[in-house]
């Protein structure tokens, strides 16, 4: 057994986290920064932070993840990191020549209390930020919130730094996609394009973290939202923010700063959430839903019809981030599955309430925990087994120990390739997700059935 010491009996833990279902803010900020075109993310802290974040993002995306660091030593930790950041900005603009540097803080620089805007001011005054180049920052102390918060904070910083209020609003909307895969961002853009809606998406990691092999390395790949677009986000007629936690703060900031009204929706995972997204696009964009989208929707409904016999009342355990889990729970309930254990490491007051309301009326008890960890998740499973597990790569240890089929979904996925190329959002993404569920369940049925029961046609 790989997790051989995990007891079935659950005891309350007040101080010890075992097998976290979250990580720290800065990595989320780094991922969001990569969704700005020509941007080099910069970690204001010790080298270890950026080394860990780059490693984890690289293992997940299997793509270059470029970023720089202030390389704090003990001296900087005592005297503050201003000198380090000034020197770093000078070196970065001279050597790596990005258009933008997106600085995020760490627990180290936050504990010291470095004032980034003040340091930026000094850097500008000293001529360390060349004309026509940009900097932005987000405060992302690792001891507050999680990676989800860090993503949200950096996304909001894009608004705070660049979006420009405008009296005249253009016939265009903003789409904030939330922490999803580059493939998902591409799919969201495709759907908006099918509807003929003009839009600005930020952040946008398509063509940054799912780039082609061309034999040529580009330090700053083709993708990403441009600074001009971020400026224009203030003159869009509305914003669709996907993901309450990851996109909500940026959308609200746009509303406050630039009077761009927003709608905050779930991530468009599954039929209902995608319906709401498409409907919002239609209304906000003032367009009709084209046949092409109706066909995709119909195909998704068609395969649910074909598959639902296999899904019906199968129990599922989910672990991941709140935005993903809320959408996914609704999706699973909508196909007659029973999500019964749901854990996120991110603390969020509304999460448990939302999950409870989504699972209301299911013929079973539903365990939900915000601010939980994977050990608790595992213990719940030991006490009430499930038919399917959905979560990031770390769940494979539980899956193997408990012999339960497992689908990788969320962050990080360190042992499979495909998530950055194939979406799970939208109707087509929904179809792919259902295919994965069905494959997992049927492979298990094939493996477990006796020779007598083994069937060709299923």
């Amino acid at each position: 057994m790989l997790l051989r010491h995990t007891p079935k009996e659950i005891t309350e833990r007040k101080a010890l986290t075992v097998n976290p279902a979250k990580t720290c803010q800065p990595i989320g900020a780094m991922y969001a920064s990569l969704g700005i075109h020509g941007c080099l993310p910069h970690s204001h802290g010790s080298q270890g932070c950026y080394a860990y974040h780059r490693s984890t993002l690289t293992r997940h995306y299997k793509e270059p993840v470029m970023a720089a660091t202030s390389s704090f030593t003990e001296g900087a930790s005592v005297f503050g990191g201003q000198a380090n950041l000034l020197q770093a900005l000078n070196n970065i603009f001279t050597i790596y020549e990005p258009d933008v540097v997106a600085v995020h803080t760490t627990c180290l620089s936050e504990t010291i209390g470095d004032d980034i805007p003040q340091i930026f001011g000094k850097a500008r005054a000293d001529g360390k930020i060349p004309e026509g180049k940009f900097v932005l920052h987000a405060n992302t102390p690792s001891y507050v919130g999680t990676h989800v918060t860090g993503f949200a904070n950096m996304t909001k910083a894009m608004v705070d730094y660049f979006a420009k209020p405008a009296e005249h609003k253009e016939n265009r909307i903003n789409i904030i996609p939330g922490w999803v895969e580059p493939s998902d961002m591409k799919e969201i853009k495709r759907i908006a394009g099918e509807l003929g809606v003009k839009f600005i998406m930020f952040p946008d990691t398509e063509n940054v973290l799912n780039g082609p092999q061309t034999g040529k390395f580009a330090m700053y790949p083709k993708g990403g939202v441009t600074i001009d677009e971020l400026v224009s986000a203030g003159s869009s007629r509305g914003t669709i923010a996907l993901g309450r936690l990851t996109s909500g703060p940026a959308a609200h900031a746009l509303d406050t700063k630039c009077k761009v009204p927003c709608e905050i929706l779930d991530l468009p995972i599954g039929i209902k959430a995608t319906d709401r997204f498409v409907d919002s696009l239609r209304k906000m964009g003032g367009v009709n839903v084209p046949d092409s989208i109706n066909i995709e929707r119909g195909q998704l409904v068609d395969i649910i019809t074909d598959m639902q016999a296999y899904f019906y009342h199968k129990k599922v355990g989910l672990v991941g981030d709140p935005d993903q889990l809320e959408a996914l729970t609704e999706f699973l309930v909508s196909i007659d599955m029973l999500p019964i254990h749901i854990v996120t490491g991110t603390k969020d007051k509304k999460f448990e309430k939302r999950i409870k309301s989504l699972t209301e009326g299911l013929p079973c008890k539903v365990n939900v925990k915000s601010g939980g960890d994977m050990m608790l998740f595992h213990q719940w499973i030991k006490n009430e087994p499930v038919d399917l597990l959905i979560g990031n790569t770390y769940v494979k240890y539980i899956s193997r120990d408990e012999d339960i089929p497992f689908i990788r979904f969320g962050f990080p996925i360190l042992d499979r390739i495909g998530h950055s190329y194939f979406p799970t959002v939208g109707y087509q993404g929904g179809m792919r997700f259902l295919e994965k569920i069905l494959d997992a369940l049927m492979d298990r049925q094939d493996r477990d059935s006796s020779e007598i029961e083994f069937e060709l046609v299923m």
């Binding site: 790989l2 051989r4 010491h5 005891t11 833990r13 101080a15 010890l16 986290t17 075992v18 097998n19 976290p20 990580t23 720290c24 910069h42 802290g45 010790s46 080298q47 270890g48 932070c49 080394a51 860990y52 974040h53 490693s55 984890t56 690289t58 299997k62 270059p64 993840v65 470029m66 970023a67 720089a68 660091t69 202030s70 390389s71 704090f72 030593t73 003990e74 930790s77 380090n84 020197q87 900005l89 000078n90 070196n91 970065i92 001279t94 050597i95 760490t106 627990c107 504990t111 102390p141 690792s142 001891y143 999680t146 034999g215 040529k216 390395f217 580009a218 490491g345 050990m375 770390y394």
Partner: protein, 557 residues
């Protein structure tokens, strides 16, 4: 089946040309890009290998701060302590005291394999991540209370025999005294509990963390169990982390030679073995950088001499086995080692003969770790490949130039922050394993003790030796030489592959390995053939990119 062969590539047409490139010019061009202050500093880390006299090679600057804003391969002190040295030991609870990130990122991300069935209690906590998950409250009011409670909970639930605590950056800043907490809890719970002050900002790289970890192991674990085990030629293997199963192959080789392995620091390792390791008669060092401190301290306290060995490549393995046998000077061992070498070499030679023609003369570059960039060069040599550029991520001058420069190394403020333990002979347990004269002369039976000559003597003059290489320097080297393979870590992997150049991770071996000793060497030869001669490199250019003129011809016709 057809062997996987690559059509002639642009690179192969150029293979003879690389010798025409002037390294000095390349260096100059790279340095020109840097701001003057940066160029001055980096040029001391970026040297062209040259023997200056009988003993010395060009001085290289190493183990100093990375310049802020320079994209480096390095990580932090915590990573070296918790991740590298303490991580691969299965039966200890490693509790990270800090915000969640540090614990999360070091959770199972190194490929240290372990076999819990070989220790009687079967404990294995390596699949777990334990953290105090510090939040704002603790940053403001202090985290000692939470740490104490976390240790108690870990004890109550898991009943481990040992717990260690790792300090992260904010812990040092807010002034939590992890050592007083661990002392108090040790007394309360009656098991070994101790802490590491391995805050990420300490030192200049992972290297500081190795030192901190060595100190902690030496002070709190080594020497706890005096049971003397049966067996001949009792050794400890130091600096072998069992990535991809390397240690398993070495264990097997020792067993066949009749060498008794007491403890490995730290791969497939157990704190039970660490506790008992002072009963060995010889320490063998693989990774000099990460673990030489323990070897030195064990020599001072217990009188155990150490030898530098290397089990990467067939040649180095044979040499190391013979060195160990010579050291003991026992004919039985000398003969047995020769028998084992004779058993192993035919398969190795067969593989070399098969692979060599496919890789002969191709260029390799490797920038990794504190020893691997040296050790792997010999593996490449065995298949005819040429290493023209190498360097370490976090090593010190002695790893490049040899230990004879140790007295000449200036200790700067960053190194002074890492405690040097004052080690004395143990009044009861000190037992010089060899003649006093031999110890003093640092030589026994013609075998040099405590000796490591470093990387530079094994490289040609004119080769690049680059410390703490930057992303920019990496790219320029690649563009200039188009090596057949580049070795580094995960952060560098895809940047290099996007250049169309295969990239082998030598920290984690990607998903491959083991590469140690004879069987591992054979694995490595085939792995290089697979990577370098893979068909994928031929797919990069689409047919219409290869000959765009065709459309014009149609128009003409």
């Amino acid at each position: 089946m057809e062997p996987m062969r690559k059509e002639t590539t642009e690179y192969e047409e150029k293979t003879d040309n690389w010798k025409d490139i002037d390294p000095k010019k390349v260096k100059q061009e790279i340095m020109e890009k840097y701001p003057p202050k940066v160029a001055r500093k980096r040029s001391k880390h970026f040297v062209i290998n040259k023997k200056v006299d009988d003993e010395n090679y060009t001085e290289i600057q190493a183990n100093v701060r990375t310049i802020p804003g320079i994209i480096s391969q390095r990580g932090c002190c915590y990573a070296g302590c918790k991740g590298v040295v303490m991580g691969p030991t299965r039966d200890i609870i490693n509790l990270t005291h800090g915000p969640i990130g540090c614990g999360f990122y070091s959770w199972l991300t190194r490929r240290n394999q372990t076999d819990p069935s070989t220790t009687p209690d079967g404990h294995n906590f390596m699949t777990y991540c334990f953290s105090t998950d510090m939040e704002e409250r603790e940053i403001i009011f202090g985290g000692e209370k939470k740490l104490k409670a976390a240790i108690q909970e870990a004890y109550d639930i898991f009943k481990p025999k040992m717990i260690s605590v790792f300090a992260t950056c904010p812990v040092g800043l807010i002034g939590d005294d992890i050592h007083s907490v661990t002392r108090e809890m040790e007394k309360k719970l009656g098991i070994t509990i101790f802490g590491f002050s391995c805050e990420g900002y300490k030192g200049v790289s992972q290297s500081a963390g190795h030192h901190v970890a060595n100190n902690g192991l030496f002070q709190h674990v080594i020497g706890l169990d005096d049971t003397v085990k049966e067996g001949d030629y009792k050794v400890n293997l130091l600096g072998e982390y069992n990535i991809g199963g390397d240690a398993f192959l070495i264990e097997d080789l020792f067993e066949r030679c009749g060498i008794t392995l007491i403890s490995t620091f730290s791969g497939n390792s157990s704190v039970d073995h660490f506790s008992n390791s002072h009963t060995a008669d010889l320490n063998l060092i693989m990774c000099h950088r990460s673990i030489n401190y323990v070897a030195d301290m064990m020599e001072q306290k217990y009188g155990i001499p150490w030898l530098k060995i290397n089990f990467l490549s067939a040649e180095a393995t044979s040499r190391s086995l013979r060195k160990i046998a010579e050291y003991y000077g026992d004919q039985k061992l000398i003969d047995r080692v020769e028998e084992v070498i004779a058993e192993e070499m035919p398969a190795v030679e067969k593989a070399q003969a098969e692979i060599r023609p496919r890789l002969e003369g191709k260029l390799a570059m490797m920038f990794v770790g504190g020893s691997r960039a040296h050790h792997y060069q010999e593996l490449f040599k065995e298949i005819g490949m040429i290493t023209i550029a190498a360097g370490y991520e976090f090593a010190h001058r002695d790893d490049y130039e040899g230990r004879h420069v140790l007295p000449k190394i200036k200790v700067d403020a960053d190194s002074r922050n890492i405690e040097e333990l004052d080690v004395q002979k143990d009044p009861e347990k000190y037992n010089p394993r060899i003649d006093k004269k031999e110890l003093e002369a640092e030589e026994r039976h013609g075998v040099r003790l405590k000796d490591y000559e470093g990387m530079m003597p094994d490289m040609e003059e004119g080769d690049y030796v680059i410390d703490d290489i930057s992303q920019y320097e990496t790219e320029k080297l690649i563009e200039t030489y188009k090596p057949a393979i580049f070795c580094a870590g995960i952060k560098e992997k895809y940047m290099i592959q996007k250049h169309g150049i295969p990239m082998k991770q030598l920290h984690s071996y990607d998903t491959g390995g083991p590469y140690a000793v004879y069987k591992g060497a054979v694995n490595f030869y085939y792995e290089m053939d697979r990577m370098i001669n893979s068909k994928v490199w031929d797919h990069i250019k689409a047919p219409w990119e290869k000959s765009p003129e065709l459309s014009a011809m149609y128009a003409y016709e």
